[in-house]
Every structure is written in C-alpha cells, then in structure tokens.
Symmetry: C2
Subunit: 160 residues, 2 copies
DNA sequence: GCATAATAGTTGTTATAACGACTATTGTCA
DNA sequence: TGACAATAGTCGTTATAACAACTATTATGC
C-alpha cells in the first residue's frame, strides 16, 4: 500500500502508475499552496495576487502590459482586469494607458507594493525551506528535471 | 537558464532551489489539472465533483459520511454540503440521514452517477497517459517517491 | 440527570474564478 | 481609404470557494 493510498484512505490499488502520479502531484501541490496561502493571508494577499506582484517587481520600473502579466503567471487566470483592479484599489500597483498603442495598459508595482513584497520575502523563503528543505539538493534538482519533462510538449506521448 | 524560467519569462535566477521546485510543482499541477478539467467539462463535472464521485464509487453501497468524504479528498474543500447539493440535484448521489447517529448524513453514489463515471474512465486514463506516458515507469516511480517525501510530516525540516 | 462541550452538517455572506459578450484601437489589404 | 479582421482590455453574469455564524444531535463530567 502506497503512502498516498493511506492519505486518501483508498482501499483499491491505483488503476495505473500514471493515475497515482497525477493524484500525488495534485495533492502535493495543493498542500504546499495551502501553506503559502496561510503565510500570505496574514498580509491580505492571495497566491495569485502575490504572483502578480512578484512578476511586476521582476519587470522593474518599465512595467508590463496586462497580457504580458497573464503570460508569465504560474497558474493561468482568465480575468487579469479585476485581479489588477483589486491590487490598484489597495495601492499596490498603478495602471497607465500606453500612448503609442492606446489599446495597451501598462501596469507597474508601486512603492507600497514593493514594501509589502519585501516584508514577505523572508517568511516565504522560510516556508519554502520548511516544505522542501527535508530533501537533499540533488533530489530537488532531480524533481525539477522530472517536472520539466512532464510540462514539455503536451500530447505527444503514445497511448496504449 | 532553466526551462521554467523560460516558461514564465523570468530574467533573474531563482532565489533558491526550493523556490524553483515550489513554482515548478504548482505550474505542473496546474497544467495537468487544466487538461483534466477540459476532459471533465464535456460531461459537466469539475475536478472536485469528479473526485467526490470517485471516492463514493470506491466506498461502495455502504456510502460515506460527509466528513469522511472531506478527509479523502485530494484537494481540501471547506464546503462539502453545497458540493453535494449540486451532485444530488443532478441525481448523481443520494443522501440519507443515519438512524443510529442522527447527526450524520450518509452519501451514496447513484446508478446514474456510476454510469457517468464509467463513461469517463477511458478518457481520463488516456489523459493520464498523454500527460505522463512520456516518462519511463522507473522515473514515474521515482517521482511518486519524491512527492511522498515532500508531503511527509510538515514543518520538521531545518531552516537555515 | 442536567449543564456543557464536542461533533456533524447547514446556511448566510463575501470574494474570487470562469465564461462569454462587448468596446476601443490598430493592422491589413483589396 | 475604407471595410474587415485582429488585438487589448473591460464588463455582466453565473458558479464556486472561503469564512464564519448557526442548528441539531450526541457525548461527558459533576
């Protein structure tokens, strides 16, 4: 009986190794996300909002267009507009219409937003280490490799 | 530059290997979930609803109490009641108050629900293989091990 | 045996996600 | 150059997630 089977109290064996990997991945990702969520919530941020702020910090003072933010997000969000509405309302980002192409709106992180991120950097790093520090560096590198391989070119694998 | 950095167009290196694993895990899980979602949506189910139906099928005709369903879910859901409301409304599950302990409500999957799951079994298995069949069995087993290790006893790792 | 705590679910409310239709602006090419 | 397509973002709506307060039922301890 595998560890995951115990966790979800499943009596029957998994239909396939692939099914087990799938569930294991979702469950692990969910568990880690909950911990991040708990950490971020103390500062009133959701993981998605945090992700956007990080992206904007990375982009620097030039800022990014909404669509560019969407491209870079870890998990896809179909409604960047209102996500940014909330952040702007709290004074964490600023929006400005582009003069050259007036369809585009550039978004920049505000000093207030940068300050908030700075306060979160330490706690988040510690959370990462609490969650993952148990594994040796070599195993973490291996894990990154395996995950990369999964995300690579979907739908090319042979189906039995 | 790592594969993930290209995907999320990040210029700076990751703050730590742990941070990279975290993002990589979330992104991979999200990508696989989207594919499952697309498959399930053609039958009007969300991943969470599908998960509940699978749990109930596994439980057999005895059914499960709401709280037991919650325990077994892959991703935690704080509102089982309304999740079940929707499934019951569509005739996929049935609820019955327990006579011995009248606080408890037992939930069972209906024949209609079983039938729906049966139609999904093939497509979902093929989706798993499309997503993960690219990796050798040995690498999949390794991945399961690594993920198990992450979920094990949170908060015991040493923090630098 | 009765007050109190604990457990199992439900319900109200707010916020966010998902989907699709819509507006404004720019690019294309006949 | 003027119709039409493409692109960027917004808005309306519905459904679901999250949080907290609430009801009903059972267990506990004096």
């Amino acid at each position: 009986m595998t560890r995951l089977q115990k966790e979800i109290q499943q009596k029957k064996p998994f239909e396939s190794l692939e099914a087990e990997v799938f569930l294991s991945l979702e469950r692990t990702a969910d568990q880690l996300l909950r911990r991040a969520e708990a950490e971020l919530k103390t500062h009133g941020l959701s993981p998605t909002q945090y992700n956007v702020l990080r992206i904007l910090r990375g982009a620097g003072p030039a800022g990014l267009a909404c669509s560019q933010i969407a491209e870079r997000m870890v998990t896809r969000d179909p409604d960047i507009t209102r996500l940014l509405d909330r952040l702007e309302h709290r004074g964490l980002v600023r929006r400005a219409r582009e003069l050259k192409d007036r369809r585009v709106i550039m978004v920049r992180i505000s000093p207030h937003g940068l300050q908030l991120l700075k306060r979160l950097d330490g706690p988040i790093r510690r959370m990462h280490c609490r969650s993952l520090g148990r594994l040796q560096k070599s195993r973490l590198r291996l894990l990154v490799q395996l995950l990369d391989q999964i995300r690579e070119e979907p739908g090319n694998a042979t189906v039995p």
